[in-house]
Structures are given as structure tokens and as C-alpha cells.
């Protein structure tokens, strides 16, 4: 069969890759086979451009039970016989086309990844990126995405406890929507996504199969596209009610011994679900597409196998237990059908009645070519990194107050309350620290423990310096957890980049991963799961390199958690960590961005970072400090303002002697800094502890009154500060 370039483009295979398939198969593939190869060899399922790079992430620790790629999500032991299951995933392209449904089904997909393992989903987080809200289309995308997350997640009864929203021009045509879900299970009830045991039955449960989402994995997620609006019909539509029934039914099923495995249907639908579980189980599968219940008439085997209709699960039922399993689903008013069985011949055989339409070895489908290239640093990056702060005039002291207000009101820094109050963040009766803090905290019922969760990734840093940006993404996420009193346990990450076939993008991906891996090793935090979303470009414009780090940490005693807001009048405020005012710290900052400059390296000292985190964690555990807040976007002055606003307590500084530049001192974004508060009689303990960890502890001032006063520079009422920060984002909508 001569194959046209159009057909290959549609399924995102190159001519070379097609030749490889013919060679390995010893014949031309059938239409169905080609579709299956296209899906499974796509970047989304096959990781062909990223796999070699992802290997550099450390993935072991004594708590890690399931590593990346082994199952649908990573698993970490938290003691007491309990495990947490965690993964983050992107739904960028569908959200760019149809924001409400794109984001909603993104939540649906990641939630299925968790409960398919027998874990009850107990937390959602979202990391979102949009273009500036001055553009009406970006406001439409923003409203649709937030509405979709709320509409789907709220209906499921899973609390949404945190995340981030960040705005930059590069996301106008390519908004990013990453959803993280964490579940909890008793270790003994974990379910594997493995189709094993010859003669065991494949049962399809949930929604009927329609033509929605065809080519989602190979098309939408694995190539760039020119006219996104034409692709609306490829976006799936979600039904959260059906998903809620699936959650309850599948969790009930997970406690029985009637099944051999369970796997949700996500990207590439039945194809990836069946083939990947067969690959993990080491056997083969046989499916009759005529037995798949359909939503539409006249669907071809190709369409049935590649449909991405939502809310479907594939259950591998032990032979002889099918009636019991069916009865369980019947009780939940869910449709279930036996569509095939597990075989022992290592083949993925797809039939339409008696006619075989595809018969390919499973291991061929799941071993796409792996690409690794040598690329050099782009010249334009070198130019971005060379920035001399002396080229711009320093901030005059009388402008410090208005600059602070401007930064607080900028959408990247302003409170995200108008977003998170649309998400149910308390259902489940576990949420100890609500969204709006450095990390969300959930207690674990039946234990004294709690877990803390955050997502992070400053993409401006990654754009200017992909390596340092990667380092900082990991370090900052860990610092956020530490500020809540948690010991970081594990990472899930989502890597959102442009087209990896371009040298510059590949360089960004490679450097960013290498920076993240370095920080993971230094801070001893393993990566347990993740997702890549490449080809985030439209008309040649790629997004900033956007790694999103989702991190979970453990608090052994929930009563010893910490929050970012100041607590008591009279407490002293200290800056822990890097107290050197270095000019480098202004590079790529929000301060420069507000002035229209995106240049200059960010700065981090990983050794200092490590010591700072240990020091802060010890101070919280020993009950020395009353609040802890990470200095991030907007620097120290912004962090002080945020700590004031949480509980409406003011701050009065000591007499600071600022040597060097004022803008850097107030708004520089040097990493490894935490603002803490302490009762005056415990201050010596903090100073002693900081000395032991060899980090700075600089007394900044004291909590009190209803104003934010940095003597000689800033004197603002909390009302003014609050209006800027609480209202900054809301005003733009």
C-alpha cells in the first residue's frame, strides 16, 4: 500500500518511522495497525524525544514503591500501611481549542489515573498558564479553563487545594493546563494496570464509545497546529457524574480479589489502555470491536480503537468472576461489557466479528524509536543571559511604595482567591491549610500525620536559563513544602515545551531536565511520575520552557504545621537564608518584567538552599517560629506584604542600611530566603539554629499596627496593600 504524506501527518509519524514499522513487521501495516502505531509511537504515549533525557531523574528512595512508567502513577509509602499515589498531566491542546471541556476532561483523566490503582483521590491541584488578560480571547480561555476545572472537580467531591496561575505573552496561543491528582490507599489494596493470566476477560466499563477525541494522542498532543479553532471536534466532552460513579464502583472493586488489573482509557483510548496493560502483563490481548458499545452508528474498527471518549475503564476480570463484577457495576448503574480476553501469544489481535483487522506483536507497538540529539546553546539565549543591572537606573526611594503596590497588583503576584474560591477545597474534611498559602495541607485520617502539596515552576527563569530554571523549580517547590512544616517526599512533573524536533527547543528540554535532576539529587527528592507535553507552539511561536513540579511532603505531627501569615503583635520578623544583596538577584524578576525587561540569570546556591530548608524545618518542628513564607516572585518586600495580609497584621521595620541598589534589595528574587516570625524571647533560639546550619538570620523588624512600614522607603496602610493584592487579578477579569 503506497502511503501518502497526508495520512502520516494525520497520525504524526514520519516517513522514516513508517519504513521502520514495515521493516519490523515484515509487511505493510493495515489501516487499524497504522493508527495504533501512530498513537503509541506518539510523543504523548511513546516519549520518543524525551525518554532518553528523562532517565537522568533520580527515582529511588526507601519510600518509593512505584517508579515512573511502571504504572499509571507513582506510589510513595507514608507509613501506617498507607501509600499516596500521585501524578500530574497536561491537557493543553484540548484546552486551547475548547477551554471548558478541555480543562474538565483534563481533571477527569488525571483522576482516573489515580483511582484505577485502587486509591481514593483526595486532592487536586492545577498549574495554569495564560496570555495577558488584556486580550479578550485570553479572558475567554481563562474563564473557560477555571470553569471547567470547577465544574468537573466539584462534582466529583475532590478538594482542589492549590496550584498556580501565571501569565505571559507566549501563552496567548498556547495556554497550559496541568492537573495534578493525589490519592490515598492501603498498600494492600493497590491495583496494577496489568493484563495477565491467559483466559482472563477484558471488560469495558462506563461510557459508550463515540468518535470524540480521535487522534487526540497522535494529532493534538504530538504536533504543532496552525488553526486550532478548526479542531474543535477532536476535543472530548466530560461527564463528571459518570466519573463519580466509576470512582465509587472501581474502589469497591479494588477491595475484592475478582480482578487481575485495571486501566483507565485516556490518550489513544482502547489502543493504549489494552496494549500497555498487555505489555506490563507480558502477554497478549484479543478484542472484538463489535462488542464495544457505541454512541454512534457506522464506526469503523479504526475509530473504535482510537476513540478518546471519556469516563471509560478497562477491567481485567479473573475468569469465572465476570458475573460478580458485572453485578457490582449494575448496582452503580454503570454499563459493562466483555470485549475480549487476555491471550498468551504476545500479540495485540483486534477483530471485527470473525475478521482480524490487526495482529501485531505487543512489544513492537510499545517500543517506538528513541531519539537523542546533540544540540548547541542558541546564540539568542547567550544574549538573554547577559544583563547588566547598571544599565537601568536604580529605584528612587520615594517610588518604592508605589512600585510595591504595582507589583502586588500584577496578575502573577496578586492573590488567586478569585480562582480558588470557585473550587471546593474543603470537601473530604481533611483540608488543614487552604489554598493561598505556600502549600496546601491535608491531614491523614486515622493518623497524626498530614501531607503537604504544591506545584511550582517559574517559567521566566526557564526561558532565560533553562538549567537554572529547572534547578529553581524543584528547589522552590521543596521550599514551599518546608514552609508548611513538611519533609519533601516525591515529585511528579509535567514538562511543557515547544517542538522538540527544533534544536533550540530540544536544548531547552535537555538543559531544564538536567537542572531539575541536579536539584532532585542534591535535595534527595525522587521523581515518581510525570508527563511530557511537547509541540506547544502555534505558527512557529513556542511557549516558554515550562516545567511544572508537583511535590508532596510529609508532616509527621499535623499539630506542628506552619502557615505563611503573621500571627502575633510583637513577634519579631527575620529573614532566614541568603542575606547577601547581590545584583544578580534581579535577573528575570517580576520587577524587571513590569519594566518590560525579560533578561538576566536568576540566582541560586543549592548548598545554601539545602541548609536553609533543614533549618526552617527544624525550627517549625521545635515550635520556634510562628510563621514561614517563601520569598519568590516580587522578592522580600512582596513576601512581607503577603505575610501581613493573611491575618491583617502590620509590620514595622528596623532601620535598614541598604548598601547597593534599592530595587534589588526590595524586589530582587534571590532564592533560598524565607521570612519567618518568632516571639521575642525565642529569637535567640532561631539565631542559634541558623548559626548551626550556617545560614543568615537577619532581624528585619516587628509585627504590629495596621501599616506596612519599611522605614525610609515604604509606608502604606494594609488597606491599600490589601486592595492591590486581593483585587489585582480580579480587576482584570
Amino acid at each position: 500500500m503506497p502511503i501518502s504524506k497526508e495520512i502520516l501527518d494525520e497520525i504524526a509519524l514520519s516517513e522514516k518511522e513508517y519504513q521502520l514499522i514495515v521493516e519490523r513487521l515484515g509487511r505493510e501495516p493495515t489501516e487499524v495497525e497504522l493508527g495504533m502505531f501512530g498513537a503509541l509511537w506518539s510523543e504523548h504515549c511513546g516519549y520518543k524525544h524525551s525518554k532518553a533525557l528523562l532517565k537522568s531523574f533520580p527515582s529511588r528512595s526507601k519510600r518509593v514503591l512505584v517508579k515512573p512508567g511502571e504504572e499509571n502513577a507513582g506510589v510513595v509509602d507514608i507509613g501506617d500501611g498507607l501509600v499516596v499515589v500521585m501524578k500530574i498531566e497536561s491537557h493543553n491542546h484540548p484546552s486551547a481549542i475548547e477551554p471548558y471541556q478541555g480543562a474538565a476532561t483534563g481533571v477527569g483523566g488525571i483522576v482516573r489515573d489515580i483511582f484505577t490503582m485502587g486509591a481514593r483521590p483526595i486532592a487536586l491541584l492545577n498549574s495554569l498558564r495564560f496570555g495577558p488578560l488584556s486580550d479578550p480571547r485570553n479572558r475567554y480561555l481563562f474563564g473557560g479553563v477555571v470553569g471547567g476545572i470547577a465544574g468537573y472537580g466539584n462534582c466529583l467531591g475532590i478538594p482542589d487545594i492549590g496550584g498556580e496561575v501565571f501569565f505571559a505573552d507566549c501563552y496567548s496561543a498556547n495556554p497550559l493546563v496541568n492537573a495534578l491528582c493525589l490519592g490515598i490507599a492501603e498498600a494492600k489494596h493497590l491495583v496494577k494496570a496489568r493484563a495477565y493470566g491467559e483466559g482472563n476477560l477484558l471488560m469495558l466499563v462506563g461510557a459508550d464509545t463515540g468518535r470524540d477525541g480521535l487522534h487526540g494522542a497522535s494529532g493534538l498532543a504530538s504536533r504543532t497546529f496552525e488553526e486550532e479553532r478548526e479542531l474543535r471536534s477532536t476535543v472530548q466532552v466530560g461527564n463528571p457524574f459518570l466519573e463519580k460513579l466509576l470512582i465509587e464502583a472501581c474502589l469497591e472493586l479494588a477491595e475484592t480479589d475478582w480482578i487481575a488489573g485495571m486501566q483507565d482509557l485516556g490518550a489513544a483510548g482502547l489502543t493504549s489502555s489494552a496494549v500497555e496493560s498487555a505489555a506490563r502483563g507480558g502477554g497478549g490481548i484479543e478484542i472484538d470491536v463489535l462488542k464495544v458499545p457505541r454512541r454512534e452508528k457506522g464506526m469503523t474498527p479504526y475509530e473504535v480503537m482510537l476513540s478518546e471518549s471519556q469516563e471509560r475503564m478497562l477491567v481485567v476480570v479473573k475468569k469465572g468472576y465476570q458475573d460478580k463484577v458485572k453485578a457490582l457495576f449494575d448496582r452503580w448503574e454503570l454499563r459493562s461489557d466483555i470485549i475480549g480476553q487476555v491471550t498468551g501469544d504476545g500479540l495485540a489481535r483486534i477483530k471485527e466479528g470473525e475478521k482480524v483487522v490487526s495482529e501485531v506483536p505487543v512489544n513492537l507497538l510499545t517500543s517506538p524509536p528513541i531519539y537523542k540529539r546533540r544540540v548547541r546553546k542558541p546564540d539568542w539565549l547567550e544574549r538573554l543571559q547577559t544583563f547588566n543591572v547598571a544599565s537601568i537606573p536604580d529605584l528612587p526611594p520615594k517610588k518604592a511604595g508605589s512600585t510595591l503596590l504595582r507589583l502586588l497588583a500584577s496578575p502573577n503576584i496578586a492573590s488567586k482567591r478569585c480562582v480558588y474560591r470557585q473550587y471546593d477545597h474543603q470537601v473530604g474534611n481533611n483540608t488543614v491549610v487552604l489554598p493561598g498559602n505556600d502549600a496546601g495541607v491535608l491531614r491523614i485520617k486515622g493518623t497524626k500525620k498530614a501531607i503537604a502539596l504544591t506545584t511550582d515552576g517559574n517559567t521566566r527563569y526557564c526561558y532565560v536559563n533553562p538549567y537554572l530554571g529547572g534547578v529553581i523549580a524543584v528547589a522552590e517547590a521543596a521550599r514551599n513544602l518546608v514552609c508548611s512544616g513538611a519533609q519533601p517526599l516525591a515529585i511528579t512533573n509535567c514538562l511543557n515545551f515547544g517542538n522538540p524536533e527544533k534544536d533550540d527547543v530540544y536544548y531547552q528540554l535537555k538543559e531544564c531536565i538536567s537542572g531539575m535532576a541536579r536539584a532532585c539529587r542534591e535535595l534527595k527528592i525522587p521523581v515518581i511520575s510525570g508527563n511530557v507535553s511537547l509541540y506547544n507552539e502555534t505558527r512557529g511561536e513556542a511557549v516558554y520552557p515550562t516545567p511544572v513540579v508537583g511535590m508532596v511532603g510529609l508532616i509527621e505531627d499535623v499539630t506542628k504545621h506552619c502557615t505563611s501569615g503573621f500571627k502575633n503583635e510583637g513577634d519579631l520578623v527575620f529573614l532566614l537564608g541568603d542575606n547577601q544583596t547581590i545584583d544578580a538577584s534581579i535577573g528575570s524578576s517580576e520587577y524587571l518584567e513590569v519594566h518590560g525587561i525579560i533578561k538576566g540569570n536568576p540566582y541560586i546556591d543549592l548548598g545554601m538552599e539545602k541548609r536553609l530548608q533543614r533549618c526552617c524545618l527544624e525550627a517549625i518542628r521545635r515550635g520556634i517560629i510562628n510563621s514561614a513564607h517563601d520569598c519568590s516572585e516580587g522578592g522580600g518586600a512582596v513576601a512581607l506584604a503577603e505575610s501581613c495580609l493573611s491575618n491583617g497584621l502590620g509590620f514595622v521595620s528596623n532601620d535598614w542600611r541598604i548598601e547597593g541598589r534599592l530595587d534589588t534589595a526590595l524586589f530582587g528574587e534571590a532564592q533560598s530566603r524565607i521570612i519567618v516570625s518568632v516571639t521575642p524571647r525565642a529569637a535567640w533560639k532561631l539565631e542559634k539554629l541558623a548559626a548551626r546550619w550556617q545560614i543568615g538570620a537577619t532581624e528585619l523588624g516587628a509585627i504590629g499596627g495596621k501599616r506596612l512600614i519599611l522605614k525610609g522607603y515604604i509606608d502604606l496602610s494594609l488597606k491599600q496593600v490589601g486592595e492591590a493584592w486581593w483585587g489585582g487579578l480580579e480587576k482584570l477579569l
Partner: protein, 228 residues
């Protein structure tokens, strides 16, 4: 005494009610699937929050046809206690056990946040342990919580002290800014004529522990327990 929690497909605060009653208040409590019809061994029935039937059509509009509903009406007619929370309140209004309706929030957004509730009637079986005018801190989480009824119904509710909770400031002032959803007269919870059926939008089961921010919800549960 024993609590029964009715579970519809799509219900989610069943588990939170169960946890708070069983693990915090040490009460007997059971889940009741919506297809059952026997409520005789329960002393108080809870219609919990969530999205019964996905809130498709209208919140509560499908659940009210569940097989359990005639039994619930019979249970209520005997003067036994029924509390509908959030989606449960919506189901009670749809089924006619309580008057009025819960419309979309006036700002057309889902809203999850802490609110303050002023106890307007402290002699009901659900508020017996509260002081008159006491302000409770309890969270809301809903899209359709704007209480609406015609003028005659509102007048009747007010005249018979059937408005049990109103959204207020932390000091008990009934203001527009304290109203999170545009409910008429800041109404957050009402009882039926007999006083044995309560519907409220806020979630008392989420406010049973200081660790989670408030234990004011316990006043409602303890009132019920003391009344049986």
C-alpha cells in the same frame, strides 16, 4: 439514637457527615442507598451535599424521584428530624418538603468559602444548643444556593420564625456584603411548619474540629442529639 445518611448517585458529603458523626461525635450512623425504602430504625435522616445525578436538569430535580423519597416524606410527617445540607436542601425544596427554591448564585460562579451564620431561631431542634443571635462559622460550597421564595412565603417564614440561619458578618450584622450568593433576606437555612425538617446551604459537617478551622457545626449536631 441513630442517624441515617441517604446516598444518591453523585452524593459526596455522605462520607464527611459519616466521619463527623461517627468519629468525632461518637454517634451511631449508617449509609442508606437511595433505592431502599425502610427508614424505621433511624431517628434523624441526613440528606447530604454533593451532585446527586450530576445536578443534571436542576439540582435535586432527579433525586426527588428516587425510591426512598416517599419513605422520607412519611418519616418527616411523623415529626422525626430531617436535615438537608446543600444538595440535600435543594432536594427538600424540589420535593416540596420545604418551600422556595435555590437559584444560581447571583455572581454566576461556584463559591467555596467560610461564612458566618446568625442563628435567628435558637428554639428549633437543630439549634437548641445555640444562643439566640449567636454567630456560627461554617463553610459553604455551592453554585446554586441563592434562596428564593415569593413574598407571601417569605412573610410566612418570617412570621413563624422559620428562618433559622442568615448569612451575616462575624459580629452578626445582616449585610449585603456578608451575603455570598444573593439569597433573599440573606436566608441560609429554613425549617418546615412543624419545625422538624431543616434545609441549609452551609456544611456543618465540615466544621466539627478546630484543626479544620471551626467546630461550630457541632452545635447543630449536638442540638439534634439532645432533642431525641
Amino acid at each position: 439514637m441513630k442517624f441515617g445518611i441517604i446516598v444518591f448517585p453523585g452524593t459526596w458529603s455522605d462520607r464527611d457527615c459519616y466521619y463527623s458523626l461517627k468519629d468525632i461525635l461518637r454517634q451511631k450512623v449508617d449509609y442508606i442507598w437511595h433505592k431502599e425504602t425502610n427508614l424505621s430504625d433511624c431517628d434523624c435522616i441526613i440528606l447530604p451535599g454533593g451532585f446527586s445525578y450530576g445536578d443534571y436538569l436542576r439540582p435535586g430535580a432527579i433525586a426527588r424521584f428516587s425510591p426512598i423519597m416517599p419513605s422520607l416524606e412519611h418519616f418527616a410527617s411523623q415529626g422525626k428530624l430531617v436535615i438537608g445540607i446543600c444538595n440535600g436542601f435543594q432536594i427538600l425544596c424540589e420535593s416540596g418538603l420545604l418551600p422556595g427554591a435555590l437559584l444560581r448564585n447571583d455572581h454566576l460562579e461556584y463559591r467555596c468559602q467560610w461564612v458566618h451564620l446568625k442563628v435567628e431561631n435558637s428554639s428549633s431542634p437543630f439549634t437548641y444548643r445555640c444562643r439566640g443571635g449567636q454567630v456560627l462559622k461554617i463553610p459553604i460550597s455551592h453554585y446554586e444556593g441563592r434562596y428564593y421564595a415569593d413574598d407571601a412565603t417569605l412573610a410566612e417564614l418570617e412570621a413563624n420564625k422559620r428562618v433559622v440561619f442568615r448569612y451575616s458578618t462575624s459580629t452578626g450584622d445582616i449585610t449585603d456584603t456578608a451575603n455570598p450568593n444573593g439569597s433573599l433576606r440573606n436566608i441560609a437555612g429554613i425549617i418546615n411548619k412543624k419545625g422538624n425538617v431543616l434545609g441549609m446551604m452551609p456544611h456543618p459537617e465540615r466544621a466539627c474540629e478546630p484543626l479544620l478551622g471551626s467546630s461550630d457545626g457541632n452545635l447543630i449536631w449536638e442540638s439534634i442529639i439532645a432533642n431525641i
